[in-house]
Point group: C2
Chain length 273, copies 2
């Protein structure tokens, strides 16, 4: 089921700037027992994204009401919200008055086996690089060709995620996840000032780490540094946290720091997100 500006339909105008230029944003939200999980955080990120792209932010109360209506009867699902600058103009220049388009669509929850979060996943390095652009870095915008090309690099079902480097060969994130590693008890994740998406689960993990008195740093690091880690894990709002048990030929164990954060996430969700 799909709602476009509150009306049930599965089509969008061709003149919509989301289609013409990828001129918009999205959020991918877990639905659990009829409720969007971490909804406030998703709406806050959407607001920040609108602000950065100068898209008038849609009415959040209305968006929230539409999300609730759509998800009410779903035990477990994925809600995708797309907000675009609206329909109009041929050419990059935007017409003066434009109504943003909001699209809410409900999708089945992907059936990942429990082993992914318990025993970990296998990852590879992608050759498609992430470009660097501070103006777009961190934003969950609709320009996603880099991720599409990276995800098309492998079809082997034994590999669950691809790790993307930027054009300077620094590790940024997975195709659909943010990435963390642990070295001597300290947690590290990529700085997202020039590339990457600032994930909701990433920010939650950073908060948990601080709460748990673990040191956590954002920095710039290479493949070599990553492969020398004690623990590696990836995360997003749908999968939660997946330990990485293997990157190409290098094996990792599911370590104590990863497990502590996973446990904290489970508690946090139970307490009611």
């Amino acid at each position: 089921m799909i709602l476009v500006n509150g009306i049930q339909q599965s089509y969008i105008q061709i003149a919509d700037r989301g289609f013409q230029y990828g001129d918009g944003l999205f959020e991918t939200i877990e639905i659990h027992n009829g409720q969007p999980v971490f909804m406030e955080r998703h709406l806050a990120r959407l607001t920040t994204g609108c602000h950065r792209l100068h898209i008038p932010c849609p009415d959040l109360a209305q968006l929230n009401a539409e999300a609730q209506a759509l998800c009410r009867h779903s035990t477990r699902a994925v809600l995708k919200i797309i907000v675009t600058r609206g329909a109009g103009g041929r050419g990059y220049r935007q017409p003066e008055s434009l109504q943003p388009t909001r699209v809410l669509s409900l999708h089945p929850y992907p059936d990942y086996p429990d082993s992914y979060s318990e025993q970990g996943i296998t990852a590879r390095f992608c050759t498609t690089p992430l470009g660097l652009n501070p103006v777009l870095a961190g934003i969950k915008h609709l320009n996603r060709l880099e991720q599409v090309l990276a995800r098309a690099e492998w079809t082997d079902p034994a590999i669950q995620e691809g790790i993307m480097l930027d054009v300077n060969a620094q590790v940024i994130e997975g195709t659909m996840t943010n990435l963390f590693y642990v070295k001597e008890g300290v947690i590290y994740t990529s700085s997202l000032t020039h590339a990457g998406v600032a994930g909701i689960m990433r920010s939650i993990i950073i908060e948990f780490s601080i709460e748990l008195d673990l040191k956590v740093f954002e920095h710039t690091f290479s493949k070599v540094r990553l492969l020398a880690a004690d623990e590696v894990f990836v995360c997003n709002a749908i999968i939660g946290i997946w330990p990485v048990k293997q990157i190409e030929t290098k094996s990792f164990s599911v370590g104590p720091v990863t497990q502590r954060i996973q446990k904290r996430l489970v508690q946090f969700k139970k307490r009611g997100a």
Copy 2:
């Protein structure tokens, strides 16, 4: 009027990957006396783009026939062709069998005054940078947020184009044009190995320059180098060639090299493109 996979409609499926991820390509084509201008070149670039993004190329004879049918009665117009990977999949991974979507839309020819090509235009430098990514450089793909943000930087109607630099502060192109400059009789344009769109008019101008025994080089250059030029001009398939008479506080005259190439383009089009 719009044709989607040969059928007249103004909507596209929300599941189309063009809308979800900007997962596709486009061409913007001049229509003159019912005929697409430089159509073979546009179709060739589209083919190259499909190849680079691993999108199965649509049947070019069919695409051409649809374009002809759509444009037959237009004296002057703009034809936009969008080709996407098709509709399907939530997530970056593409389903195994996907039918590319083709969208052909006809638009009024923009009413630029003749003074733009005769006396030249005024340009500014944009602050929105172009990211660097060799995997996407040169391709006329649908991920166009950088251009949208750059074009939103000014509203002054006295400024006709914005010049974009890459993240290393090297000059790449205009928001909707490619850029050339002339210094001591030699023609220079930006190398597009890491950013930018390889324009049809750009390639025609390079061919003309060689034909006219003018030296032409692709290279990497800064603002300072550009501002020290004898002549500057921008181009695309719709506007042809516009001399640049001013960039911020620096003035340029419409020089002899620019005029020779403009004249050659007019001849070439008359002879029958």
